[in-house]
């Protein structure tokens, strides 16, 4: 069994990966609102409604996820049989969308739950599996769907409710990545900082930006400290879905700890929609970072316009029950340093 000796555990949370594993291909499938957003041209497939002529929102989400997977595999010139593992997760109970997708793909399956941080969690674990000599090719995919998420976590989709201004809109879409040994133009995973669960005591399930920002700041801070880097090391620091409110909070917390990330920092939640699309504080959901990073920024990296990106996916790990029981929202953020 091969064991790469270049990886090094640096501190409690970070690992240097040595750029041995790369994103070989990526694909994105977008829903109606996302297809009308500013990054629409960068997505591979677009849908005009959320039901896709399926019997339920859940089936529609599953179909988007499968399409993203097959598109990514096609772009990599590989088939499901070539994949050693499929790492997938989504927002639904028991990550059922990923499980049904795994059923179609028939790849050895490792279901994960990181809520909106799933993409980073999957990329982290996939990279470690490949670099540890346990796999050659890994498929990582995630999805979210506005209606299936609302229906499960909050209210029926036709319920008349005025959302607060700090709330976010769950993105409808899916993204898939094929990871493999670095060789060609694909951006490589250089370092991983795995997050700890951070609970800031936020209890409002509509205030996910402020629930997750402390987790993002914690992971980013530890990443800089453990790897002895500062924000200027990166061309871009990208968080998943903190939204307008969370983004500012994240900047403030880090500034208070001595790191000014503002010149390099943006958030997928504020990028995915136009202001006139009435999404309050911006987008959220597993597919938010998937669509924005895999659609837009990944292509910029392929074109060498961005050399070093710190991808920080944030997830709110509450369950539909915890809100009812007046528990606060535990959050997590996983960071990957990706370089061309």
């Amino acid at each position: 069994m091969q064991v790469y000796t270049e990886q090094k555990k640096v501190g409690k949370q970070s690992v240097l990966m040595g750029k041995k594993v790369a994103i070989l291909a990526a694909a994105t499938v977008a829903g109606p609102k996302e297809s009308l957003g500013p990054l629409s041209n960068f997505f591979d497939r677009h849908y005009e409604d959320t039901i896709l002529a399926e019997k339920s929102f859940e089936r529609a989400e599953c179909r988007m996820l499968e399409e993203a997977c097959y598109l990514a595999l096609g772009k990599a010139g590989l088939s499901p049989e070539d994949m050693d593992y499929y790492l997938g997760g989504d927002l639904l109970n028991q990550v059922i969308s990923s499980t049904f997708c795994a059923r179609s793909l028939a790849i050895p399956y490792l279901g994960i739950f990181g809520a909106c941080s799933t993409l980073a969690e999957g990329l982290s674990l996939g990279t470690m599996l490949i670099q540890g000599g346990f796999a050659k090719y890994i498929l990582v995919a995630t999805s979210s769907h506005n209606c299936s998420a609302e229906r499960q976590y909050r209210y029926p989709t036709e319920y008349g409710f005025q959302k607060p201004g700090y709330s976010q809109w769950t993105v409808t879409g899916a993204g898939a990545v094929v990871l493999g040994p670095a060789g060609g133009k694909g951006p490589r995973i250089e370092a991983i900082t795995t997050g700890k669960v951070v609970d800031a005591g936020e209890k409002d399930p509509y205030a996910l930006g402020s629930a997750m920002a402390p987790a993002a700041a914690d992971t980013i801070y530890n990443h800089f400290v453990e790897l002895k880097r500062n924000p200027a090391h990166y061309d871009l620091i990208l968080s998943g879905d903190l939204g307008g409110v969370g983004k500012k909070l994240n900047e403030d917390i880090l500034a208070g700890k001595g790191f000014d990330i503002t010149p390099y920092y943006t958030d997928c939640g504020v990028l995915i929609y136009y202001p006139h699309q009435k999404v309050n504080a911006g987008g959220s959901g597993c597919a938010c970072i998937a669509l924005v990073f895999l659609g837009y920024y990944y292509q910029k990296m392929l074109a060498q316009e961005l050399k070093r990106v710190l991808l920080v996916a944030t997830g709110a790990l509450h369950s539909p029950t915890t809100f009812m029981q007046r528990e606060s929202i535990p959050a997590i953020a996983h960071a990957l340093s990706i370089e061309t």
Binding site: I51, F57, C147, T157, E158, D204
Partner: protein
Amino acid sequence: MGSYFTAFLVGGLICVVGQLLFDLTPFTPGHILSGFVVAGGILGGLGIYDKLIDFAGAGALLPIASFGNSLAKGAMLEAARTGVVGILTGMFELTSSGITSAIVFSFFMAMFFKPRG
């Protein structure tokens, strides 16, 4: 009962109270509307809510507090007629129309319409 002006005014003001509670408190709509119903029930018990209905007509009949008032009145009227057990037997007498129509119309809407998100 009521006039167009008082209906608009009182209905609007009751909704303003609701909106302030929505925006300024951490409670969900379910909590706040339950609060309205309790208030309606208490005001109904005191005989005050009926006076509001006389003044404002639909402006007091339509807000959900009226549901509490009707439940209380139903219970009280039947109790006055047949004794304490009337609280149980008369409870839904005045609210039957609202509950029945909500159930029946929901059934048919679910038959003909799909959620659109």
